[in-house]
């Protein structure tokens, strides 16, 4: 019987055929925690005297959420991670190295892997054909110590995307459109599997954006086949030998199939305070929404192509005088490339505050907390009340192009108006 990508990957790990609905204990290939979840994970292992790592070479502790540390409590948490790494041989991704979901895919994950992370956006690894899924601190702690976890084999939704995007429309608009269509719990417990010519044509930058946001529809993972684009990404990151092709079986069983025409997607915005509260930029609600802060970055849209798109729009222009612009490259590698390509110079001249790689203001800890009543347009993945540090603020989500256009206009703006 044909297998979905999720059934195929889990089946390979447990050494037998599995079908949706069953529960299996599976080895895990890559584990990650970050500075918000890792200290609790380590404390749990200490409590049960299990402070060890089954595969330290593929266990990574990321210091990215509160990085560089804004408070002594968090500095101490960072040291908890460093001490555990020294004791067990796990890797630490340090201040300035970047967001976990970018770095893990640049440096560690390969197609067919199972990746568990104490961060909900671990599903980002689906873009490489790896079953990445977010779990809590204790689940990942046990995964680190024992090298395995238990999983329910998910049912799968197939998202088939045909056609070409209009100019000014990107993968971010597509995934916001999908979440708006099926709802913030529309794929709860499911594997979302993206396919179709539009996805085939996407580079890894866009595929990572799609998979990253699968959890915003409640999904367990957001999987994409591994093909020549995946191979090119791995070669570019010095890991060409970890490539393997991974395709779904033609006769795989999907619980639901969604067909989407990419040419009909418009620039799309999530309004406060849920990701599925979407509007197209042509909606009347988008007129005259004043924006105080624009944030371009994160594991969703802080990659080189994202920064390049923003720079193309902002080149020779200035941010609106009433609108702050914050830019955070998702990794050190991206920062370096954006420096060498002149992208950061363009953004700097446009009035951006460019910060070191990490989560930036997305999580509401530092580097751009909103004031009472303020509105932010961000390229991040989540706009819950309080997300950016203030429950009395408002967060809108959109693509880097919409963000750049909005930074110029000082209000929600259509990127098609400013693309030359």
């Amino acid at each position: 019987m044909g297998k979905t990508l999720a059934e195929k990957i889990i089946g390979e790990h447990v050494g037998r055929e599995v079908i949706a609905g069953e529960i299996a204990v599976t080895p895990v290939d890559v584990c990650l925690v970050q500075d918000g979840t890792g200290p609790l994970a380590i404390n749990q292992l200490r409590k049960i005297n299990l402070e060890r790592a089954a595969s330290p070479q593929s266990t990574v502790l990321f210091i990215d959420h509160a990085s560089p540390s804004p408070r002594k409590e968090l500095s101490n948490d960072h040291n908890t991670l460093r001490q555990f790494a020294r004791k067990t041989g796990c890797h630490v991704s340090e201040v300035g190295d970047g967001v976990c979901h970018q770095v893990i895919n640049e440096c560690y994950v390969k197609p067919g892997d199972i990746v568990i992370g104490a961060d909900s956006h671990t599903c980002t690894s689906g873009a490489l054909g790896a079953l990445g899924t977010g779990m809590g601190s204790t689940d990942v702690a046990i995964g680190i110590a024992l090298g395995k976890t238990w999983l329910r084999v998910p049912e799968s939704y197939r998202i088939v995307v045909h056609g070409h995007f209009q100019p000014g429309v990107y993968a971010k608009d597509l995934i916001l459109h999908i979440i708006g269509m099926i709802g913030a719990d529309g794929a709860t417990y499911k594997s979302m599997e993206f396919c179709g010519e539009t996805v085939e044509n996407m580079g890894m930058t866009e595929r990572l954006t799609l998979s990253n946001m699968a959890v915003e529809a409640g999904a367990k993972c957001g999987l994409i086949f591994a093909d020549e684009k995946t191979r090119a990404f791995l070669i570019e990151h010095g890991r060409g030998d970890s490539y393997r092709e991974l395709r779904v079986d033609e006769d795989a069983t999907y619980e639901r199939t969604f067909e989407i025409d990419a040419s009909k997607i418009l620039p799309t915005i999530s309004f406060p305070h849920t990701v599925d509260n979407t509007r197209t930029i042509e909606d009347k609600d988008c007129r005259s929404v004043k924006i105080d802060q624009v944030y371009i970055g994160t594991c969703t849209n802080g990659r080189l192509e994202d920064l390049r798109i923003a720079a193309q729009i902002l080149k020779g222009k200035r941010r609106h005088s009433d609108t702050r612009l914050i830019v955070v490259p998702a990794s050190r590698r991206i920062y370096q490339q954006a420096l060498e390509d002149g992208i950061l110079a363009i953004l700097n001249e446009a009035g951006a505050a460019i910060l070191s790689p990490g989560c930036g203001p997305c999580v509401g800890i530092h580097q751009g907390i909103l004031g009472d009543g303020e509105a932010c347009l961000s390229t991040q993945n989540r706009n819950f009340k309080g997300r950016m540090g203030n429950p009395n603020a408002f967060i809108y989500l959109a693509s880097p192009a919409t963000a750049a256009a909005t930074a110029i206009k000082g209000r929600l703006a259509d990127p098609r108006e400013v693309i030359g």
Binding site: G36, P39, L40, G136, D139, L146, G364
Partner: protein, 167 residues
């Protein structure tokens, strides 16, 4: 532990982990008793100071969506809440509840109002609403989760069993 009794505190749909344990209190994550004083603060600011031990958190649909932060169910438990009831749960939050030993119960919470006196029987899979004099049933957990919950959470479970036991 299988039977619990207390009062219902109602919350709406899509209560996120940011409502429960907001990022602005990130620095309290290694001080959970302190963080628990702010539990659900951004949904109902009066909740933490007004609830009584053994009360129930009763949500709508998609309770606990968002971040993987296990601190969210942990501080609900530390605050003294007996169980969380909702029409549906976000996946990671549901798993985290069980992993920290906090019962998460899927039932028709439209039939529960603010302040209703509830009794939950985990072994029978039923919620008795004494105020409304009705009974609601809920589905059993998979065996692996039942055992984790019985052990008081995943850390204790692994300490006692040494490995995952599926049956």
């Amino acid at each position: 532990m299988t039977t619990m009794r207390g009062k219902a505190w109602k919350f709406g749909d899509n209560i996120s982990t940011d409502h429960i344990a907001p990022g602005r209190l990130f620095h309290l994550r290694s001080n959970l008793p302190e963080l628990a004083k702010h539990v659900l603060e951004d949904a109902r600011p009066e909740f933490a100071s007004s609830m009584a031990p053994r009360d129930f958190v009763v949500g709508g649909g998609n309770f606990g969506l968002g971040s993987s932060r296990e601190h969210a169910p942990t501080i609900i438990k530390i605050a003294g809440v007996s169980a969380v009831l909702a029409k549906s749960f976000a996946r990671i939050f549901f798993r985290n509840c069980i992993n920290v030993g906090l019962p998460a119960i899927i039932c028709d919470t439209d039939k529960i109002d603010e302040g209703d006196e509830l009794e939950v029987d985990l072994s029978q899979g039923k919620v008795i609403n004494h105020t409304k004099k009705i009974e609601l049933s809920f589905p059993p957990l998979p065996p692996v989760m039942t055992r984790i919950l019985q052990e008081g959470g995943l850390a204790n479970y692994i300490q006692n069993y040494g490995d995952f036991k599926l049956e």
